[in-house]
């Protein structure tokens, strides 16, 4: 990974403040709503509700290498280790006697969007029963081919049903003008985030995917607030500074790699070092681009529906192949690495075939490896290293061929 960022310190402070704010807010009468990562949180902010991201909790526990431990508490309750690692962490923490990354914040209400997967709704349902808090599902049917007006109308209708649910549950009022202000801030933050991500296309780049994984917390959590805008302004400035000074993400960048999808959190450094040792920088992933979108302020609800349902997480096989190939082209990638993540069926099922298709269409080498995003019990370093070494060897071969 890159040399430490100045903004990293800022992020740590901001996250600590955010986690502390949940309980403080509740005392002030501000309700705590559990939300999912790819969810129109702009409505939540516009209604002065405090959004809490249990997925972040899972990622944090995973990055601190305690996911396995927390998960075991869930497994004892009958949530077995074939389930999503984040869900097991979140559920496990509820039943745990120890809280190595702090306690997961209990919800007053839960709102879930199922574009990402079917695990989140089931986890939220279970948490809703446990905490006896009302639960609302924002349902988005898969867009397998063309975008359909049927699915969009369904989603817009549900946004209004959700507003009604939120008003009834919290007593807070919804106001379209306020939503427009929030959307403006969200658009600004997502634009800045996108600008930061694009810096990875420079060769050599000041910033790569593993850095982006670290810096993405504000775009997930605070898009729609000034905090996120300020944060990404600061990050962009720092990146520009790095470019001016010639500071690069890795010492000798020769290869740019597309990575799909999420990092193996407890082994983030292991992976980034392994890539750096082979002069390879991971520069893009559909994952970090999940929040690089733009709203049409003239029609807020429709725009929310489009942004959140037409994302790759809600798209079919062909769309996902095209998206990966677009990223590979935009970031000038020499090869691609696909992570078959035991915790995430929607992002993993189909990867075997996609690897073959993308390799055929681009002529670039690609590899699939097996692991779990949070649970190290499913991590086999030797096996993965062998696979990746073979991949790096292909990169070298291609590079030699290119020179002759």
């Amino acid at each position: 990974m890159s040399a430490p960022f100045k903004t990293a310190g800022l992020l740590k402070d901001l996250m600590a403040q955010y986690y502390a704010k949940g309980e403080e807010n509740r005392k002030l009468g501000i309700p705590v709503a559990w939300v999912t990562a790819v969810f129109p949180v702009e409505i939540i902010y516009a209604m002065d509700i405090f959004p809490y991201y249990p997925e972040n909790f899972g990622a944090l526990a995973a990055a601190r290498k305690v996911a396995d431990k927390l998960s075991e508490y869930g497994e004892q309750q009958g949530y077995y280790n074939d389930l999503c690692g984040y869900a097991r962490c979140g559920i496990g923490d509820t039943y745990a006697d120890e809280h190595p990354v702090g306690k997961i914040l209990p919800p007053d209400l839960l709102v879930c969007c199922n574009t990402q997967c079917g695990s989140l709704p089931k986890w939220f349902e279970a948490a809703g029963r446990y905490h006896q808090a009302p639960y609302f599902l924002l349902d988005s049917p898969l867009i397998e081919g063309e975008v359909s007006s049927l699915g969009k109308a369904y989603f817009v209708e549900q946004l209004w049903e959700m507003v009604d649910f939120l008003e009834k549950t919290t007593g807070n009022k919804f106001d379209l003008n306020r939503l427009t202000e929030v959307l403006k801030l969200a658009s600004e933050a997502t634009r800045l985030w996108n600008d930061c991500l694009d810096m990875a296309a420079l060769k050599p780049a000041p910033f790569g995917f593993f850095d982006a994984c670290f810096h993405m917390a504000p775009i997930v959590t605070w898009r729609g607030t000034q905090v996120a805008v300020d944060y990404y302004k600061a990050l962009k400035e720092e990146l520009d500074e790095r470019v001016a000074k010639g500071v690069t993400a890795i010492p000798n960048e020769r290869f740019k790699i597309y990575f799909d999808h999420i990092p193996v959190w407890p082994r983030l450094r292991w992976f980034s070092d392994l890539f750096a040792d082979h002069d390879a920088l991971v520069v893009a992933s559909q994952y970090t681009h999940s929040w690089a979108h733009k709203f049409d302020l003239s029609r807020p609800m429709e725009s929310l529906a489009e942004v959140y349902t037409e994302q790759f997480v809600n798209r079919g096989f062909e769309y996902r192949i095209k998206l990966k190939m677009e990223f590979m082209e935009r970031y000038n990638c020499d090869g691609f690495v696909l992570f078959s993540n035991r915790s995430c069926k929607p992002n993993s099922f189909g990867l075997y075939d996609k690897r073959q298709v993308i390799a055929e269409r681009t002529g670039k080498p690609g590899v699939v490896f097996e692991a779990d995003m949070s649970d190290q019990r499913f991590f086999s370093a030797g096996q993965i290293q062998t696979r990746l070494e073979a991949f790096f060897e292909q990169l070298e071969q291609n590079s030699r061929r290119g020179k002759t």
Binding site: G78, D82, G118, P141, E144, R342
Partner: protein, 378 residues
């Protein structure tokens, strides 16, 4: 004996599930397969095609491993395996309902790896309580209908759809009566026989199946009711696979009297009203099916439903039959078990897989459970 002959007929169908479908295809009729268990077969039928259930395989899975991770459930891996092996080459089309993440992603793999001419999704709403679900589902059914028309070249007229629905309602009625009969006269046909009859409906001509079930009902109605002391059990989960589990339950002194299985009660579901807007009626049926892991009701949840199911059937225990890697079931499990415990209903969870399940281990666990419940356990 007539009863045995009838049961043998259903058994033969299940042993060679695609015989009728192949015959139809050879005779020039279009054949459309569906994955379990919510696809509205009435629409396929009314479009002039023969609907057939694709329900996995207990044969070893090899070919699917190149396309689908081994941590997908063996039901879906088995369906894909059959496709890749050529077992399903008779299909003109296949409809995959999105009940979970695996089915949601399977459709793309199927399109890529197989040459089935018509491949479609059935994108049901995953919330069933709000008005938006019904409006959307009507639209989705209309989409499906028009795709089916294109596939078969036959328009689905109101008249044809009404006729198809009547055939399906009659079939459901016959199966419901068989369920009821078995619930009160458990000693006449075995649990496995009951579920074999239900499963056979997924592969047969519906009118023929109904006639056979009615004949069976007549014959078993003549049998002297038997006093059955066995322990009455309810099953909850996806599928009763491998099928030996049902025999094992009976050998150990139990009998199955109710379930919420995909290849059981969930397949039956409510009838479809034939008097008004037919697509709306099909939507109503879908939204009012019994709860399951794929989508629950927030108003009357699955745990409550299951406790009522056990009590209504006067069952003494619950056996959760969960396919390994089935996430929806696993997420529900803790709370369903808790609801059982609180209601004083003993329960056990058996994790199963097509083909790979170790029957010896299952037997040991079931035996301990049955002994605990006061059965003979032998």
């Amino acid at each position: 004996m007539v009863i045995d002959d009838l049961l043998k007929r259903f058994n033969d169908v299940v042993a060679d599930p695609y015989a009728e479908a192949r015959k139809r295809r050879e005779g020039g009729q279009k054949v459309i397969g569906w994955l379990p268990t919510d696809v509205p077969e009435e629409l396929i039928h009314a479009a002039g095609a023969f609907p057939v259930g694709i329900l996995g395989t207990n044969e070893p899975i090899h070919l699917a491993d190149a396309h689908l991770q081994s941590w997908a459930c063996s039901l879906m891996r088995g369906c894909l395996e059959q496709g890749l092996k050529g077992t399903l080459d008779f299909l003109n089309g296949i409809i995959i309902p999105h009940t979970c993440d695996t089915t949601r992603m399977l459709v793309g793999i199927w399109r890529h790896a197989l040459k089935t001419p018509y491949i479609d999704n059935y994108l049901m709403p995953r919330q069933v309580d709000r008005p938006s679900a019904r409006t959307y589902l009507k639209g989705e059914l209309a989409r499906l209908k028009s795709n089916l028309e294109e596939c078969t070249g036959q328009l689905v007229t109101d008249k044809a759809l009404r006729e198809s629905i009547k055939i399906y309602n009659a079939n459901r009625l016959a199966m419901r009566r068989l369920y009821e009969f078995h619930g009160t006269n458990t000693g006449v046909i075995s649990s496995r026989a009951l579920y074999t009859v239900i499963k056979a409906a997924m592969f047969m001509d519906k009118a023929e199946h109904t006639a056979l079930v009615e004949e069976l009902l007549q014959e078993i109605g003549k049998v002297e009711p038997r006093n059955d002391e066995r322990i009455r059990l309810t099953l909850s989960g996806g599928v009763w696979e491998p099928p030996e589990i049902l025999e094992m339950i009976e050998e150990l002194g139990g009998v199955v009297v109710a379930d919420d299985l995909l290849t059981g009660a969930r397949y039956l579901g409510p009838d479809v009203d034939t008097t008004g807007d037919l697509l709306d009626a099909l939507a109503y049926r879908q939204l009012n099916r019994i709860p399951f892991g794929g989508f629950d009701s927030t108003i009357r949840g699955r745990s409550t439903f299951l406790v009522e199911l056990v009590r209504g059937a006067r069952a003494q225990g619950m056996v959760f039959l969960h396919l390994k890697f089935c996430e929806p079931e696993n997420y529900d499990y803790r709370d369903m078990r808790k609801a059982m415990t609180e209601a004083g209903i003993p329960s056990i969870r058996l994790e199963t897989e097509y083909a790979n399940t170790s029957l010896g281990q299952l037997r040991t666990r079931l035996q301990a459970f049955m002994e605990m419940m006061g059965g003979n356990g032998s």
